[in-house]
């Protein structure tokens, strides 16, 4: 009783620490990832059509836009923000992108630049509303959502933008070496943003601002500039996503993306992001997006009606997050 062991956690060796840390980091994704794998295997058995290259690429292409926009949303959520305007802004970007092709004869790539620019501007607006006007993100982006949708209607005259050349479809329907172009873009975006968040100063500041904005400010971080930067970058991705969506349906759709924000927020949160800021990783978000997509795909393959699909999606959202929370608590409570 009178001797004291000195075996503190700090002396157990660097490597095992590193391993433990990796595991604890991966926990939040693990649940979603496990769910994804289970669902994947279940569907492979349940439907003979599921495990075909075509179907898997389809799922990839179908999920691309959601995944890209969910990536953007994750960045914003990490800063303790939220972006409700993603749907409107994606529609605005897609419609304007389609219009410059149809009316001004822009090439697909020039149009993509325009769409990205539209997204960036919307992001800048969101960022300035949050940082300069100090409007809470929920309200700032709710306003942008409403204004954005109004602008889409005004610009397009509330009519879809049709009559686009076939080349317009390349972004959404084209392939590289048999892999859908949209999937390639999604992978690039996800990897890029994941790298940015985990390995760079910009990412560090993003987490810091979400964790404690005042601490970040007192640490001399230019929080206005950086927070605005996050919104702009998110806007860029949303613009890109909107353009891909337009390209996939070969037209600019003024009604695109209604309630898209809920889907992408769900993807981020299923993937372990916290709406109270400071937490979230892209790999989790991507898994979350695919989890939702897989449920939808599987439901069609198994002939489950949309009504039951909605019930099932709800149950899966609950289950994924429940087990995630449960694991985290267990890990915190017992190791």
């Amino acid at each position: 009783m009178s001797t004291v062991e000195a075996t503190a956690g700090s002396q157990r060796g660097e490597f095992s620490d590193w391993v433990r840390e990796r595991i604890s980091h991966a926990v939040s994704e693990l649940t979603a990832a496990t769910a994804l794998v289970v669902l994947f295997i279940a569907l492979s058995f349940a439907s003979p059509y599921f495990l075909t290259a075509d179907n898997l690429f389809n799922i990839g292409a179908q999920t691309a836009v959601i995944a890209i926009i969910a990536t953007a949303q994750t960045m914003v959520i990490i800063t303790k923000g939220i972006d409700l305007s993603v749907g409107s802004v994606a529609a605005l970007a897609g419609v304007l992108g389609a219009m410059v092709v149809r009316d001004l004869g822009f090439s697909l790539w020039a149009a993509t630049v325009v769409a990205i620019g539209v997204g960036a501007l919307a992001g800048l607006l969101n960022g300035l509303l949050v940082t300069v006007a100090r409007i809470p993100p929920f309200i700032a982006t709710l306003g942008t959502m409403s204004v954005g949708r109004g602008l889409v209607f005004i610009f397009s005259g509330a009519v879809g933008v049709y009559g686009l050349p076939r080349s317009f479809q390349l972004l959404g329907n084209g392939e590289i070496l048999g892999i859908p172009f949209a999937v390639v873009i999604t992978v690039l975006v996800a990897v890029g943003v994941a790298f940015l968040l985990s390995q760079t100063r910009f990412g560090q500041y993003t987490y810091a601002m979400g964790s404690n904005l005042e601490a970040a400010r007192r640490s001399g971080i230019g929080v206005r500039r950086h927070l605005t930067g996050v919104y702009v970058l998110a806007g860029v991705l949303v613009g890109l996503g909107g353009m891909i969506a337009a390209s996939r349906v070969n037209s600019g759709q003024p009604n695109y993306g209604i309630s898209l924000e809920l889907d992408v927020i769900a993807a981020a949160v299923i993937g372990g992001a916290s709406l109270f800021g400071g937490q979230g990783r892209i790999v989790g978000t991507i898994i979350g997006a695919f989890l939702i997509a897989l449920v939808r795909n599987g439901a069609v393959l198994l002939d489950i009606s949309i009504h039951y699909q909605q019930v099932i999606v709800g149950l899966i959202i609950w289950a994924a997050v429940y087990f995630d929370q449960y694991r985290r608590r267990r890990l915190e409570a017992r190791g």
Binding site: E5, G9, L331, A333, R334
Partner: protein, 272 residues
């Protein structure tokens, strides 16, 4: 010091006490992920004594206190009240057993007023049928809060000010006042004077003495060794999640305490 006689009387009673300890922890283990904050910690408080719980930063003092007040259920070990094992699964259980706590992280509701915080969980209701409907007697709570804070000598703008607007010391005063108002059997104070001014600190120590004289037990966590020696009857030292020593304050010096905390002295006298 005016209280020395009492302290002596108490401490004389202790070693041979037939009365079981009011609050006792045995072999408490508590893990957070892969960090083992408590590794079989023991702790004892008898009736009417002031026990200081000391230890290095990160020794596990706050964690031990949280298990004693029902915030963290322990992973292993048992807690006894008056000799009988109990399960504190919520803070309310501990409170019902008469244990009142000031936490190091204060745990106040920033948006609520000072008065509302003081009475949180024990609101004064209007008398009569309205009260049975849950109607608050806000005036009574304001007056009670003002009186309690006066006793600790805190200058606070108004008791209707939200806690968020207070200075560090003012917040701490509110937390201390809250525990002291409601204490019936054991008061646990986790570094209660860390942010307090000289005058307020003395007032808190006075209150602690009065509580002891009224037969209550006080557990005091502090890094201020002179303060510990001044106020406590007994000291228990926690080191790396275990009890490393139990000392009588009338037998030790500051240096002994420091030695015990840092591990150069080990004076655990096992009573069992």
């Amino acid at each position: 010091m005016a209280t020395t006689p009492t302290a002596t009387a108490d401490s004389e009673r202790q070693p041979t006490a037939t009365e079981p300890p009011v609050l006792e922890a045995r072999g408490i283990v508590k893990r957070f992920g892969h960090v083992e904050a408590l590794r079989g910690a023991d702790f004892t408080v008898h009736r009417g004594e002031v026990v200081a719980l000391i230890g290095d930063n990160g020794a596990g003092k706050s964690t031990l206190i949280k298990t004693l007040s029902g915030v963290h259920p322990p992973d292993e070990g048992e807690i006894r009240v008056g000799g009988r094992p109990v399960q504190f699964s919520t803070p309310l259980d501990a409170r019902r057993a008469g244990v009142e706590t000031v936490y190091q992280d204060l745990a106040v509701a920033d948006d609520l007023s000072v008065a509302a915080n003081l009475y949180l969980g024990r609101e004064i209701l209007r008398s009569g049928p309205l009260g049975r409907l849950g109607l608050l007697d806000k005036r009574a709570m304001r007056n009670g809060a003002a009186a309690a804070l006066d006793e600790l000598g805190v200058r606070i703008p108004r008791v209707t000010t939200p806690i968020a607007m207070l200075s560090g010391g003012q917040r701490q005063c509110v937390a201390v006042a809250r525990a002291i108002i409601w204490a019936t059997s054991v008061v646990i104070l986790d570094e209660p004077t860390a942010a307090l001014g000289v005058v307020q600190t003395q007032r808190v120590l006075d209150v602690v003495r009065r509580a002891r004289d009224a037969g209550m037990s006080v557990v005091l966590v502090s890094h201020n060794m002179p303060q510990v020696l001044e106020i406590a009857d007994r000291v228990e030292v926690l080191r790396l999640g275990r009890r490393a020593a139990r000392l009588r304050t009338d037998e030790v010096t500051t240096d002994d305490l420091v030695a015990a905390m840092t591990g150069s002295l080990s004076a655990e006298r096992d009573e069992r």
